[in-house]
């Protein structure tokens, strides 16, 4: 389990995140939402270990982040940043294989390739092995990167809980691909038992796929819980300064969120100072 408690991060003397808290269990999909500048990425980076919090601590599988050896940590959690640019062209399969770095020397090269193919298949890029990564569309590139991080935590007989930390993985996907991607993440959580913490912008996707939603506002944790309890008109108004309706359609289990044209207070997010 990932546990981040009381996380505070300071940047140039100002708190940009304070008293944030998030938990991710194996097999769980947790969506991190909030307006731009709310501290989502900072929290994700703190959990990933890129940013060392000035307050609080993150532990994975009951071990404090600082105590994890780099290679061991890489085997239990993989991180996908928002946009990863490659300076050189290379075949897709090579990119995915690079995710297996932590297992280098521990598995035969043929096995690495098999795993890479498997992961490509999971993100819907079967047969793309030899395609030049630079000739792929933005969405395809993003999925190829996802295949790489999948490969990083792929294990046949997992001995420990494994996690994926994703920063807006649906960026540059079309509407159908967004659904496909989220259902893939759902499947990975359910079947492979991966714990997934992902930043999402689309509130409906969070509503439909997440087990839990963590809503941040101006560096603070506003609400955390099941999608239906967090993504209420009040929650959305507080978190985004946006008027929204939550609509239930007969025959569907989950409600839909409709955002309204009038803003509650469009600029309230500008004040980012935290008491």
């Amino acid at each position: 389990m990932i546990e981040a408690n009381h996380i505070g991060v300071r940047k140039s003397g100002r708190w940009i995140l304070r008293k944030a808290r998030v938990q991710v269990r194996a097999g769980e999909l947790v969506a991190l939402i909030g307006a731009n500048g709310a501290g989502k990425s900072t929290l994700l980076k703190a959990v990933a270990g890129e940013v060392t919090p000035d307050e609080g601590a993150v532990s994975i599988n009951s071990k404090i982040l600082a105590d994890w050896p780099a290679a061991g940590l890489a085997k239990v959690r993989a991180v996908l940043s928002q946009s990863v640019q490659l300076p050189f062209s290379m075949p897709v399969i090579d990119l995915v294989e690079m995710g297996r770095y932590p297992y280098q020397g521990q598995e035969p090269g043929g096995r690495t390739r098999e795993i890479a193919r498997l992961c490509l298949k999971q993100v819907g890029l079967s047969g793309y092995d030899d395609r030049d990564i630079c000739t792929l569309s933005g969405g395809e590139q993003q999925r190829a990167q996802l295949a790489r991080v999948l490969a990083q935590v792929y294990r046949e007989q997992p001995a420990e809980e494994r996690f994926l930390l994703l920063d807006e993985p649906t960026a540059s996907q079309d509407i159908a691909q967004k659904q496909q991607l989220l259902s893939l993440l759902r499947k990975l959580a359910n079947e492979a038992g991966l714990g997934i913490l992902t930043i999402l912008h689309d509130l409906n996707l969070a509503m439909q796929y997440a087990d839990r939603v963590v809503l941040l506002r101006r560096g603070h944790l506003l609400k955390s819980g099941s999608p239906e309890t967090v993504l209420t008109p009040e929650g959305i108004a507080q978190g985004f300064g946006l008027k929204a309706r939550v609509v239930r359609t007969p025959g569907e289990a989950l409600p839909h969120i409709l955002t309204c044209p009038t803003a509650v207070d469009l600029f309230q997010n500008e004040e980012t100072a935290i008491p």
């Binding site: 993989a78 940043s81 932590p102």
Partner: protein, 353 residues
């Protein structure tokens, strides 16, 4: 529907490491037979037999000296200098995630130049005791020292609180290179004619000074760091995704940076020290290999080393035979051949840059 990547796939197989190794060996053998002094194949063979297997061929001293002490060390030197420069270039390009990076960018060459010029100018006076002890090795030792010192200076400038920024390193490298250029210019301005000549010849590069002692020093200084670089292949691959992604995947990026810069500085420093400034090899060769074999460092570093050595053998053969009995400075030759070729590459692959 899915187009496959390497248009150069067949070329990729053609230039695979075993084929390149074979080509390199053949080239070295050919180069041993080519020279201003025309020697029949049998005689070259006899000299080699004499030296390697202790045959008694009774050849004249000049002949065996020519083959064994002049041609052979020079060919070996070109293999190691060419290979060394190219592998260092490939690794540095990977580290900086920039196909236009060159070890010269981090100040290695400039530092070597400042110290070499100082060595030429002051070997008799200021350096006195050391200078006379080292003899003509003074300039070589000075250049090597200079390249290492400058690299460490650049590395230190770019580091704070245990983190080294490659971008800062690049900028610091540019600044230090400019400073080095100014210092070199200053010393050149105050040099007398003999010194000026030596400075110019050094800047133009030459493998003419090759001998066995030099090789005995150079080979370990190239091979060992090259091997260490090669062992960093996977880390360099991941660094292509950016430092953050590499770190997420379990790479100790700080350690990798340190190793790559240190090894590249050792290799380039040693090569520049023995041969002067040889342009474009470190830039063009990795670029070419990357086009053919892709950017994975395991094959890129090996391929660059082999192709670099191969090209340098031919470049030096041209340098010592084209305008014989005089000699063409090899740095000029590589720049003359390398620059247009590089431009052609740029035009051809505009997209992938």
């Amino acid at each position: 529907m899915i187009q496959s990547l390497p248009k150069y796939r067949s070329l990729s197989r053609l230039l695979s490491p075993p084929v390149l190794t074979l080509l390199l060996a053949i080239s070295a053998l050919c180069a041993l037979l080519i020279g201003a002094y025309s020697l029949p194949v049998q005689q070259v063979g006899l000299v080699m037999g004499e030296q390697l297997f202790g045959l008694e061929a009774g050849l004249p001293q000049t002949l065996s000296y020519l083959v064994w002490d002049i041609r052979l060390p020079r060919i070996l030197l070109s293999v190691f200098v060419g290979g060394g420069l190219a592998i260092a270039g490939a690794a540095v390009q990977g580290l900086f995630r920039n196909p236009l990076a060159d070890p010269a960018l981090i100040g290695v060459t400039s530092g070597a130049m400042v110290f070499a010029v100082a060595g030429i100018l002051f070997s008799a006076s200021v350096l006195g005791a050391i200078g006379s002890w080292l003899g003509y090795a003074t300039v070589t030792v000075m250049a090597f020292t200079g390249s290492l010192l400058t690299t460490f200076l650049v590395y230190w400038l770019a580091s704070s609180k245990g983190y080294t920024s490659v971008v800062t390193m690049l900028l610091a490298g540019v600044a230090i290179t400019a400073l080095g250029g100014a210092l070199t210019g200053l010393m050149t301005y105050f040099s007398d004619e003999d010194e000026l000549r030596d400075i110019i010849f050094w800047t133009l590069g030459s493998l003419g000074g090759a001998n066995w002692q030099m090789l005995a020093l150079l080979i370990p200084l190239v091979l060992l760091p090259a091997f260490i670089l090669w062992r960093q292949s996977s880390q360099l691959d991941l660094l292509l995704l950016g430092e953050r992604e590499a770190a997420y995947t379990g790479v100790n990026t700080q350690r990798t940076k340190w190793i790559v810069i240190g090894c590249a500085a050792l290799i380039v420093g040693a090569c520049v020290a023995v041969s002067g400034v040889i342009a474009f090899v470190a830039l063009v060769v990795p670029h070419l290999v990357r086009l053919i074999q892709g950017p994975r460092h395991r094959s890129l570093l090996l391929g660059s080393a082999l192709l670099g050595g191969l090209l340098m053998v031919w470049a030096d053969t041209a340098a010592r035979t084209l305008i014989a009995p005089a000699e063409l400075p090899i740095g000029i030759l590589t720049a003359l051949l390398g620059a247009p070729f590089f431009i052609w590459l740029l035009l051809k692959t505009k997209r992938s840059l």
